[in-house]
């Protein structure tokens, strides 16, 4: 016979407005096992907490039901109160959500009060079944892994390493840096993007606690928060970095010179042995195995002949290593949508002078293919009229993606400004759906671009055709005046949507976390836990979580780093005791739980059990308590009912249902 105390919160008028809290307390007093029921204006306040503690002691309570807001809000707080100020085990607590699921969704007390009473009755019934649960300590490996070496990954790596913890950056490309060094200027301050990002790249390279693995990908992740065993494949670079001095002789002599440069977005060429750009980190070249003559045809070998240190190694192979990390940050960034596949009306990529925003960044950059002169890719002349089309792919559920890519309004305004700045007398037309410029000094920047003479036309381009004189005829509608607009442009810049990078889905499966419907990684809570994932020890930084601009990316990377540092600072962490538990005597070893577990926390093991006073060895399921996130999927899949979730045991749930059904 338990002694349950029921504490009903007014939450000001949040609950008391549509629920008669005194009536709820009165009803609770009649419920079985309830030894006390009372109300308080704010149960979460210091005074409310003291009230709970006093009553528990005064009435010698052994179970507590708090009828208040969602357990996601304050359950942890109330558990802490029980643990620190009373002798009660903190898991002998039930929270009945009579705010989000009751008072907020109903309009009058006629409906709200009986529903709140039902919710409290269910919690009381379950509380009677609650058992004491105890956490245990998990050791923490004091190293962090960053997946993705763009500005988000770099910032997180520097912050964590500066706090004194070793960091490994795994980058898929040949250099870290990501997209930021490709950009010319950053809005709204117009400072040089490469000048502020490349020093951070070299800082990473020079940092004694940061290890950089380029051309590498994460293949397998096992383990759990504090102890992830990560298998990394470092692809063959065909160059011995211990010998290579980065002199660049191989690059100048390589006969394969016609490969489109990824860094310059296909607007210039590179060699097969190459460094994507001068400030690349590591500042040593790699051989592109798909284009190298020696590696594809078996003849050439020029780079090996000219290398003064003998660093070229055509026999190089992939290296696979497995190491242990305490925390992982996903900073995998974004890609731009492939508009050529989707927008036949914009020429589908057949017109050389219809370019993407990133191509424009390279065109206008002093280290770009045209040394910073804005010249048309088709004939190398200076365009006098430029059209910018925003939201290409973004906010277009029919062809592209439904969401807004957030940064395009600002870099679109920046492109317009740069064009008018570099081309005297140039005319710039910007076709837009909306102009969204929330951010410090953002709207001022946009207004400035307007005052400089950029012509903003509200409407989308319906068609771009190329006339024989080379002009791109842009047909669109000015939806403010209702007129059809036709612009003869020399060049068109499409500000395309940010989409998740290729392989995000595979990585999500590898690291056991979720993607949203649009393919970006899902945060644990959109407002209160924006850099955490639902998997312990796994954090998000930058556009891996959704489209954002550089300031937001860097801020989020810093936040993720703070979370990682907070974790790595601890000698050990407390495990969550509300995990699955298998009753060996009932388990048949069918493995249904193994298949259904989204966290790979259940395995089948051979166990020697004592059954009917005999020793029997058979296969049973075993739960790794570090990996288990307490989702309960296995308890549903388990046919003999061997798997049970501590804190949500089958009996408790059944008693809840009964309590509701019998009222």
């Amino acid at each position: 016979m338990s002694r349950i105390g029921v504490f009903v919160c007014h939450c000001g008028t949040n609950i008391a407005g549509t629920v008669d809290v005194e009536a709820v307390a009165d009803a609770a007093r009649q419920m079985p096992n309830v030894a006390y029921a009372g109300t308080n204006k704010y149960m979460c306040s210091a005074q409310g907490q003291d009230y709970i503690v006093d009553i528990i002691k005064e009435h010698n309570l052994d179970r507590v039901v708090i009828a208040s807001c969602s357990p996601r809000m304050h359950e942890r707080l109330f558990r802490k109160v029980l643990a620190e100020k009373t002798d009660l085990n903190p898991y002998l607590l039930e929270v009945a959500n009579i705010r989000e699921q009751c008072s907020w969704v109903h309009k009058d007390k006629q409906i709200g009060t009986p529903k709140a009473i039902n919710l409290v009755a269910m919690a009381v019934a379950k509380a009677d079944c609650d058992t004491q649960l105890f956490t245990h300590e998990i050791p923490v490996t004091k190293r962090a892994l960053i997946i993705g070496g763009g500005i988000a990954g770099i910032q997180a790596a520097l912050d964590i390493a500066d706090a004194g913890f070793p960091v490994t950056i795994v980058e898929r490309k040949t250099t870290i840096g990501g997209k930021m060094p490709m950009l010319d200027k950053t809005f709204p301050t117009l400072d040089c993007s490469a000048c502020i990002s490349t020093p951070k790249m070299s800082e990473c390279e020079a940092h004694p606690l940061i290890e950089i693995k380029t051309l590498s990908e994460v293949e397998k992740v096992e383990g759990y928060i504090g102890n992830f065993d990560v298998t990394i494949r470092e692809k063959a670079k065909y160059i011995d970095y211990d010998k290579c001095t980065g002199c660049g002789m191989c690059e100048t002599k390589c006969p394969q010179k016609k490969i489109p440069s990824e860094f310059n977005q296909g607007m210039s060429t590179r060699t097969a042995v190459y460094k994507p750009f001068p400030q690349a980190v590591p500042s040593k070249p790699t051989i592109d195995a798909d284009h190298c003559r020696m590696l594809t045809e078996g003849k050439c070998g020029v780079c090996a002949k000219v290398c003064p240190t003998g660093a070229i190694d055509y026999q190089d192979v992939d290296r696979v290593t497995t190491e242990r990390y305490g925390a992982i940050v996903l900073a995998t960034g974004y890609e731009l949508i492939d508009w050529t596949r989707l927008y036949g009306e914009y020429g589908g990529g057949r017109y050389a002078d219809v370019i993407s925003g990133l191509q424009f960044e390279r065109l206008v950059n002093a280290s770009g293919p045209t040394e910073g002169h804005i010249l048309r890719p088709s004939d190398g002349t200076e365009p006098k009229t430029m059209v910018i089309v925003k939201c290409v792919g973004s906010r277009d559920p029919h062809k592209g993606v439904p969401y807004c890519s957030r940064a395009c309004c600002m870099y679109g305004a920046k492109h317009a400004h740069q064009f008018m700045d570099k081309v005297p007398g140039g005319k710039c037309f910007v076709f837009y759906m909306d102009v969204r410029t929330p951010g410090k000094n953002y709207d001022e920047f946009y207004m400035n671009t307007l005052h400089e003479g950029a012509r903003y036309i509200r409407g989308r381009i319906s068609k771009i055709t190329r006339r024989s004189d080379g002009k791109l005829v842009c047909l669109g509608e000015d939806t403010l005046s209702g007129n059809v607009v036709e612009v003869d442009a020399d060049m068109v810049v499409l500000e395309t949507a940010m989409v998740p990078p290729e392989g995000a889905k595979k990585l999500a499966q590898t690291v056991n976390t979720q993607l949203g419907p649009e393919g970006f990684f899902t945060e644990a809570h959109p407002k209160l836990r924006p850099v955490e994932t639902n998997t312990g020890g796994l954090y998000l930084a930058g556009t891996a979580q959704g489209p954002k601009d550089i300031p937001d990316t860097v801020a989020q990377a810093g936040a993720a780093a703070a979370k990682v540092i907070g974790l790595l600072c601890k000698q050990s962490i407390e495990s969550n005791p509300m995990v699955a538990h298998v009753d060996d005597s009932k388990c048949s070893g069918c493995g249904a739980c193994v298949d259904i577990c989204p966290y790979s926390a259940v395995t089948l093991v051979e166990k020697t059990l004592r059954e009917n006073s005999r020793k029997v060895t058979r296969t049973v399921a075993q739960v790794n308590e570090g990996l288990c996130q307490g989702c309960g999927a296995c308890t549903v899949a388990c046919r003999p009912g061997a798997s049970d979730l501590l804190g949500f045991n089958d009996e408790g749930i059944m008693r809840e249902v009964e309590a509701y059904a019998t009222r």
């Binding site: 589908g348 057949r350 068609k463 771009i464 055709t465 190329r466 006339r467």
Partner: protein, 341 residues
């Protein structure tokens, strides 16, 4: 391949040339054609405006007749308007079982919506038919620059037509290439020709036609190919009028013949102008095709052939250089010898 042909009202009137040329090509390319028995108006001009039910019932009745007679044999609609309407009924019937039953009740006969509806271009996208056509092209239109014009009803809306790309379709180009002609890339291939305003508001329609003709010429086209009787009539018939107006404004005429793509196929396969219906065209179209057939064939080299040619040229150059060096070396010696003498 067998098709159940839905002729529609244009087959023997405005689109007679399309019917004639298509029949010629079909006969010679192994496309067998049945006629949908007791077909009726597809409802293009007014059916759907009256009611959605009428809009579905009119085409569905003909489709049900085709199904009763020929099972799941695809229904061929040469006219783009018929194509669009037949497809709408088909898509609606396939979309929901409820709608299909409603349609059956409306037309009072069973309709399973099994047979597909295809347009005039589709049969030639079948690889074996394309191969037969290619083999039968005896008088290729060598390098004739053709602007393929699709108009609206063939390609839009995508939910109905499932064309390759509603903004930049390429299937007519693939068919026209079979004749040896060279389709040009241009931007007005799916622009509106204004056919709906043909009678009611010609002043609104004419600039649209003029733009299409001008764009085709600007893209370097010598001819326009169409796959819709209404588009064809609109472009072909209005050209003279437009040129008259242009002359009054002191502008150069837009001189470009307009063919059905099937006319180009038929002509290249050896049909006479009468057999291909070319004599029916408003803008005379015989002489251009005759002239194209006499053009020299430009063979496009494969990359390997190009490489081989480049190597051969380089070798020839190297040999010439060596010979020149040898000659230069011999020349002073000769001179010395002469001096010695």
């Amino acid at each position: 391949m067998r098709y159940a042909n839905f002729p529609g009202c244009s087959a023997s009137t405005t689109g007679k040339a399309y019917t004639e040329s298509f029949s010629y090509v079909a006969r010679h390319a192994g496309i067998e054609i049945d006629e949908v028995p007791d077909w009726n108006c597809c409802g293009a001009s007014a059916g759907r405006l009256q009611s959605d039910d009428l809009g579905d019932a009119l085409p569905a009745r003909s489709l049900a007749n085709a199904e009763a007679a020929f099972g799941d044999e695809p229904v061929l609609a040469l006219c783009a308007g018929c194509y669009s309407n037949l497809r709408r009924a088909l898509v609606h019937a396939r979309e929901s079982e409820d709608r299909r039953r409603q349609i059956e009740a409306l037309i009072g006969q069973p309709y399973e919506a099994k047979a597909d509806v295809v347009c005039g271009i589709d049969p030639f996208l079948e690889p074996e038919v394309a191969q037969t056509v290619k083999a039968r092209v005896t008088q290729p239109l060598n390098g004739l620059k053709v602007a393929c014009y699709y108009g609206c009803a063939l390609v839009r809306p995508r939910a109905l037509t499932t064309f390759d790309d509603e903004e930049d379709p390429q299937s007519m180009e693939a068919v026209v290439k079979l004749t040896g002609a060279e389709p040009v890339e241009w931007g007005s291939k799916t622009e509106c020709c204004g056919a709906s305003h043909h009678v009611s508001n010609p002043t609104a329609m004419k600039p649209l036609v003029e733009r299409i003709l001008a764009d085709a010429i600007d893209a370097g086209a010598e001819a326009i190919a169409t796959a819709c009787p209404l588009c064809n009539m609109n472009l072909d018939m209005r050209e003279a009028e437009i040129n008259k107006a242009r002359a009054a404004r002191g502008e150069a005429p837009l001189d470009i013949p307009v063919y059905f793509f099937a006319q180009l196929l038929a002509s290249a396969m050896g049909a006479s102008d009468a057999e291909a219906g070319i004599t029916r065209n408003f803008v005379p179209g015989s002489s251009l095709l005759a002239e194209a057939k006499t053009r020299e064939v430009v063979v496009e080299l494969t990359p390997e052939q190009k490489k081989a040619a480049r190597i051969a040229a380089a070798k020839k150059q190297a040999a010439a250089r060596k010979a020149a060096q040898a000659a230069a070396a011999a020349a002073p010696a000769q001179g010395k010898e002469e001096a010695h003498e």
